[in-house]
Symmetry: C2
Amino acid sequence: MLAELDPLLHSQLRLGIMSILMSVESAEFTFLKEKTNSTAGNLSVQLDKLSEAGYINIEKSFKGKKPLTTCKITKKGIKAFEEYVNALKQYIKP
Amino acid sequence: MLAELDPLLHSQLRLGIMSILMSVESAEFTFLKEKTNSTAGNLSVQLDKLSEAGYINIEKSFKGKKPLTTCKITKKGIKAFEEYVNALKQYIKP
DNA sequence: TAAAATAGTTTATAAAATAAACCAAAATGT
DNA sequence: ACATTTTGGTTTATTTTATAAACTATTTTA
């Protein structure tokens, strides 16, 4: 029987976000938007979901008077990502 | 920029179906149902979608008077699966 | 022979992704 | 100086997907 795939991570955009956050200290909204090629609206929604789940931390501040949203993966997020990758390997190995 | 993930394959159940069909000559409905742990309704719908896309062939016959649904991956399906796996690797490699 | 199981399909509902509309501030053009 | 566009988002509406529920036909079992 095939393993379950964490539905929170099994979404192109959320997986992309998490993949990027696995490889950097932290990332700004605009950086993630560019790297994932997503719209601001969609990105905003999906970041909230990851944050709700405790997979990332979102810090909202200001750079001058412009809003600045900075995201960081949490320990829980790292664990979830690693488990997702392991489960996924079952599906894609030759 | 991260690669696109074929939305037809980026679904747990459809990916599971395709993953199984990559490794066998052909598979019956009931076999797929058990291996993927899905409901008959959901499986039926997702098989139709894969068939619509030309990723699998579905043959409906009878074993006595019981319906027998047999599925086989197509060349197009194999190619799509391989491309999906390649794109996915971008997301999950360390 | 009534009840339950098999092998599905079809339809309805819930959840997700995406798009559109919106807001406030800042930078740019005229 | 002042209208226009751009930046950096959020919120709400729409569309698409996935899932669940209800149904059909036959068959097996009690």
